[in-house]
Amino acid sequence: MALAVSIKGLSKRFGHTQALNNVSFEVPSHSIFGLLGPNGAGKTTLFSLTANFLKADSGAVEVLGIDTRYISRLQGRLSILPQDAQFQRNVPILDQPVFFRRLAGRTRPQAQDEVLHTLDLVGLQSVARRRVGSLSHGMVKRLGVAQAFLGRPEVILLDEPTAGLDPANARQVRDLIRQLQERTTIMVSSHNLGEIQELCDHVAILDHGRLVLAGSVDAITRSNREHNLGLSRPLLDAELQRLLAIRGVRSIERTSLSAGKLNHDARSSEYLAKLDLSAEGIDQDTVIADLLKAILDMGITPRKLTEGHSLESQFLEVTGRPPTSASG
């Protein structure tokens, strides 16, 4: 497996706060890698160390096989959307990325063409002559995303790329990320576990500066793959037992959607099926097919089958709290 990023024993302390503590993991090439953790877990610090904005107390980061202490060797190959970094407010939007491309050796016309094309991708071309100070928070975020996509970087670090964006723009950014995957490795940090699960093939979970879990999403959620089932009527106890007997089915709980969260509800015909795919020879498609076949055999019509928040459950299990809890 070719590696895009290799993090080895990385530690960083700010005063009395241990922001990162001996963190090690690897990011495969051409993957979309999610970095998860509650606020203050050390995600932004890890990105900042990877981009050499901060100097590590110990450990090392290699990007494309190059130690990031020699970051200049990665010019044009690594880009980042930093969190909370501000553009110069008084400068027209177009001028800043054009300046960045000129540093990469482009002439002004070449740079303008490239930048206008990229601004178009994030829906900012029509406001390219306005000053950054006149943009909304969401537009500034999209400008940040655009500058990270400029050129042909081989590795892109995106720190909370969809935070503050409306659903349509967040979707647009996610689509852009997917399009880039063929030629680029992307590391994304987010609080939105659904987004990370939808987007990423690999994840690492940080908590209090420590790495608590890392691997492919498939492997991490294998022992607890969640699916939401909607049926034409509630299951009888005997029917439920029959479904639980299917190999790979771990549990089936009756739920209802209320206030955006799944809750237990005895009258509901909505269920949360948890699959355990960790045993040898079991794959998700076979288990789901068996499950649906059994339901149909009972004379029940499946009305909904959607992927659940397997990653969120795993996150809660390893950190003991939801992703946006705690501060710092």
Binding site: S48, A51, I80, P82, A85, N90, L103
Partner: protein
């Protein structure tokens, strides 16, 4: 710290971008106003009495005696210039002024020399500034050399500190070396400072040449060019001191306060401390305060030496700031 990684094209682009956008809109505007107000106020304070004298003379005699005006300027300016240049103490200047008002003391052996009628003839530097060069311009240059280091911190305090605080530098750090950013912004600041200095000196020189008209145009232009170069070079070490502070702290306000304290504090310590302990006067050499008037010295070895000293200070300060900027968290 690796200077080999510096990229001249990047430094040039960063310098241009910085001059055009950051300096022009923020600290640059403030500095432009402060520098123009200070520079033109100094010129006004120096030139206005001469214009009034010319006006009175014209009313009384119907014409302007430029020779008499010139001699009056020299007589008034000499003790002040000698004090400013550090050639005489305030006590000596007062005594000299009193002596000029009394008849010559024939018992004094120095009075036997040709310089007897003018005791200050012992000082070629003052003569050069007041007699060989346009005295009004010399006076303005001396005051600007004293005052502009205080003003320059309004321009130079925020070379990188604001972008460190806002993390704005992070958009640049993967696109160029830290050194290119640091030196590029220094150059942009220095270029802006030089342009403002040029505006001030051209304005004053044109006014002296076209309105006051007591000096030949060639003499005015030549001395204006020398003064401009001297002041432009003099600003460099002070900008470089601000570069160190700007690269060392995360708050623009703190950077400004520290710049003021450093530039003013060195001079204050040297002057006040020097009253008590002679050796404290040496503190002024921590910054170019001790050398800078030599930029206007008649001897080429002096003004060249002072210019080189300014460049040396600039180099040392820049390297100290670069070492800090290169290794710190951004």
């Amino acid at each position: 710290m690796n200077l080999k990684t510096l990229n001249a094209r990047h430094i040039w682009l960063i310098s241009l971008h910085w001059s055009r956008h950051a300096v022009r809109s923020g600290a640059g505007l403030v500095y432009l106003m402060i520098a123009l107000v200070f520079g033109l106020s100094v010129a006004h304070a120096v030139i206005m009495p001469v214009e009034q004298l010319m006006s009175v003379q014209k009313e009384q005699t119907g014409h302007t005696d430029r020779e008499a005006i010139h001699n009056t300027i020299i007589a008034v300016g000499r003790p002040i210039a000698q004090f400013v240049l550090g050639l005489k103490s305030m006590t000596e200047v007062s005594e000299q002024a009193a002596a000029q008002e009394q008849p010559p003391n024939v018992g004094d052996p120095r009075m036997a020399t040709p310089e007897a009628a003018d005791p200050a003839r012992f000082d070629p530097w003052t003569d050069f500034l007041l007699e060989d060069r346009p005295a009004l311009l010399s006076a303005i240059f001396l005051i600007l050399a004293f005052g502009m280091p205080f003003a320059i911190s309004f321009l130079a305090f925020n070379q990188v500190t604001g972008d460190i605080q806002s993390h704005g530098l992070r958009y640049l750090l993967l696109r160029t070396e830290r050194g290119n950013i640091y030196f590029g912004r220094f150059l942009g600041t220095a270029a802006f400072s030089t342009a403002v200095m040029a505006v001030i000196i051209v304005t004053i020189t044109l006014y002296l040449g076209l309105r006051v008209r007591i000096y030949p145009a060639a003499a005015l232009a030549g001395w204006a060019v020398h003064g401009f170069l001297a002041l432009a070079i003099l600003m460099l070490p002070y900008i470089a001191v601000c570069s160190i502070l700007s690269a060392s702290v995360d708050s623009p306000f703190l950077s400004l306060v520290l710049a003021k304290l450093t530039i003013g504090g060195v001079l204050l310590l040297a002057v006040l401390g020097g009253l008590k302990w002679e050796s404290m006067r040496l503190i002024k050499y921590a910054l170019p305060w001790g050398w800078q008037n030599h930029l206007l010295h008649p001897e080429p070895s002096h003004w060249l030496g002072a210019g080189l000293a300014c460049l040396l200070y600039t180099g040392v300060f820049l390297m100290l700031g670069y070492a800090r900027f290169e290794t710190r968290d951004l």
